[in-house]
């Protein structure tokens, strides 16, 4: 794990720029945060394929739908809070319902926009987007994954939501890693408990694993970067070995991946289970490390919760 040079939002847009050279067909819609999503990089090189619709997310998504109506691929850029709440009805009825090729560059996912405060922290986005029929949801953890997820999104038919982060964190993947729809990555092998996460919190999970090792516990860490559809085969293989599952996410506890996986396990493979996330609360402004610590999704909270689950078994 090494410090990342750029945030996933920038890595994604850098790939969009590169990809634009090979694939002349797709266009980009922006809603006046091009200098934040870094979509301006594409706009500078391909002004005829770049449409800045101003601070009007609903119209941005509606026009994206109109442009995609005859099959064109559109990348629609904004922050998670605006795509998944301000414009959600347009996304649902005019993009998901007709199953159009619109890919959402959604920045400031979870409380990775910690310093900006609650208005800019998309902590319900996964709940909203995974609930929409036809929508697929990807959350790359690092810059390599972000670039691969761009390619994956553009090759996947129908709407795809890609949750990205505001700030640079760490890089874990090699440039030749493969990412698939419905795939996941086992970042650490273990036998005592399975810890599933996605996006930024995967780094906290890895850190918690080091803490757990000192207590003699080996955790299996899975990066469930494809949140919808998710990799149930890897999940079953892992929990059938460990018999315990902890899901941690930078999202509300309610209706996130934790709820999805608990439902899956209850129906198919019941194991010891718990999930972590925002506990029916809004967060607040502050430095990222301090905010995730206060709201209970940092490495030491994860390690503590994992111990609790394992102790239930004794």
């Amino acid at each position: 794990m090494k410090k990342a040079d750029v945030a996933t939002r920038k890595a994604f847009s850098q790939r969009m720029l590169e990809y634009g050279e090979m694939d002349k067909h797709f266009v980009v819609f922006e809603a006046d945060i091009g200098y934040s999503t870094y979509s301006y990089l594409f706009g500078e090189k391909y002004p005829e394929r770049y449409f800045n619709m101003g601070i009007a997310e609903s119209n941005t998504m509606g026009a994206a739908a109109g442009m995609a109506a005859d099959g064109r691929t559109v990348i629609a850029c904004s922050y998670g809070v605006f795509i998944t709440m301000r414009a959600i009805e347009t996304v649902r009825t005019f993009i998901c319902y007709p199953n159009l090729n619109v890919k959402f560059l959604s920045s400031h996912g979870g409380i990775t926009a910690a310093i900006d405060g609650v208005t800019h922290q998309a902590t319900e986005d996964i709940a909203f987007m995974t609930t929409l029929p036809n929508m697929k949801v990807l959350v790359p953890a690092d810059t390599i994954a972000a670039k691969k997820c761009f390619d994956l999104a553009i090759k996947t038919s129908g709407p795809v939501f890609i949750r990205l982060m505001r700030d640079p964190l760490f890089d874990v993947y090699d440039p030749d890693e493969e990412f698939l729809l419905g795939g996941s990555k086992i970042l650490e092998k273990g036998n005592d408990i399975t810890i599933v996460s996605y996006g930024d919190i995967i780094f906290q999970a890895l850190e918690s694993s080091a803490m757990l090792k000192k207590e003699g516990i080996s955790a299996e860490i899975i990066d469930m970067y494809s949140v919808k559809p998710f990799d149930y085969q890897t999940l079953i293989n892992s929990i059938s070995k460990t018999g315990a599952l902890l899901v941690v996410e930078n999202h509300q506890k309610r209706n996130g991946l934790g709820y999805e996986l608990s439902n899956f396990c209850l129906k198919n493979y019941p194991v010891l289970f718990d999930n972590m996330g925002l506990d029916d609360t809004f967060a607040e402004s502050g430095k990222y490390d301090l905010v995730i610590e206060k709201y209970g999704i940092s490495a030491n909270h994860i390690a503590k919760k994992a111990m609790e689950i394992i102790n239930k078994r004794k």
């Binding site: 109109g66 995609a68 005019f94």
Partner: protein, 283 residues
């Protein structure tokens, strides 16, 4: 255009006959379904008839023709008028009209792009069709196509803020291939438009957004044709045609009555409505 050799009078007369048939189909569909929105379908009938049977480039045998004109019924609840025109043009069999709003039908309660042949875009949630039209018009410009995008807007849905977001963006991109027609029937679900939410002056609002505005009688076929033909010649600006209409037009007991926004006629009312529309034929 199909009819350049005919005079304006001949075209208008022919379209009026077709519009009566469209209205009969609307009433028949909603009566058969015992559900639907007759008022706004009847008010838009002359406009949609003129588009499909005279103005628009449309080939029922090649519905995905890349050069076809696009049509968006932003006031999606009025879809019986659209379905009637599509069926009468041959996009799908007439007998499908009897299945409106029923399980497994290709004719959903509000238009569905994936289910109905000839429907270019799903609509039904008000206030969003103009944004869709902006996207389609941008696509036409990018692909250097000559098609136009025609959108029928309800006057009630002008309440929605998204309409005005779309209006601004249509000006930004000088979308002269975008023609919005406001079905100005003065009624929305809860009452008269100017009582529920006053939007007048509508013409000045669009003009302030740098649109070209043309105001017409939306039941006068000659005025409709002339306005649409003028709209096709305008350069560098999006066009708004404000068509003054009567909600429930041609069915006397439905005209200007709020309740007929979303009500199906019973048997007696159905017979009376058919009689009303047919009576217009003899006039």
């Amino acid at each position: 255009m199909l009819t350049t050799s005919k005079t304006l009078d001949e075209r208008a007369k022919n379209l009026k006959t077709i519009a009566r048939e469209v209205r009969l189909n609307i009433i028949d569909m909603i009566y058969t379904a015992q559900s639907g929105h007759p008022g706004g379908a009847l008010s838009a009938a002359d406009i949609v008839t003129a588009l499909y049977f005279d103005i628009m480039k449309f080939d029922p045998k090649n519905l995905k023709w890349p050069d076809r004109d696009r049509f968006i019924l932003s006031k999606g609840h009025a879809c019986p008028v659209w379905y009637a025109c599509l069926a009468m043009k041959g996009a799908f069999p007439m007998k499908e009209l009897k299945t409106l709003r029923q399980l497994n039908s290709i004719l959903q309660g509000h238009p569905d792009k994936l289910k109905t042949p000839g429907v270019d875009m799903t609509t039904g949630s008000l206030g969003q069709g103009l944004s869709i039209g902006v996207g389609m018009a941008l696509e036409g410009k990018l692909e250097k196509k000559n098609y136009h995008v025609f959108i029928v807007l309800g006057d009630g849905e002008l309440n929605e803020g998204m309409i005005w977001e779309a209006a601004a963006s249509a000006h930004k991109y000088h979308l002269d291939n975008l023609i919005a027609i406001v079905d100005r029937n003065h009624l929305q679900m809860d009452g008269f438009t100017e009582e529920v939410m006053p939007m007048e002056p509508i013409n000045k609002k669009f003009q302030a957004f740098n649109w070209e505005v043309i105001t017409i009688d939306g039941h006068n076929m000659k005025e409709i044709l002339l306005a649409l033909e003028k709209a096709l010649t305008i350069k560098k600006r999006p066009i708004c045609i404000i068509a003054n209409t009567v909600k429930g037009k041609c069915v006397d007991f439905m005209e200007n009555i709020r309740e007929w926004h979303g009500l199906a006629p019973n048997e007696e009312q159905y017979k009376k409505a058919v009689e009303c529309i047919r009576k217009g034929e003899q006039e």
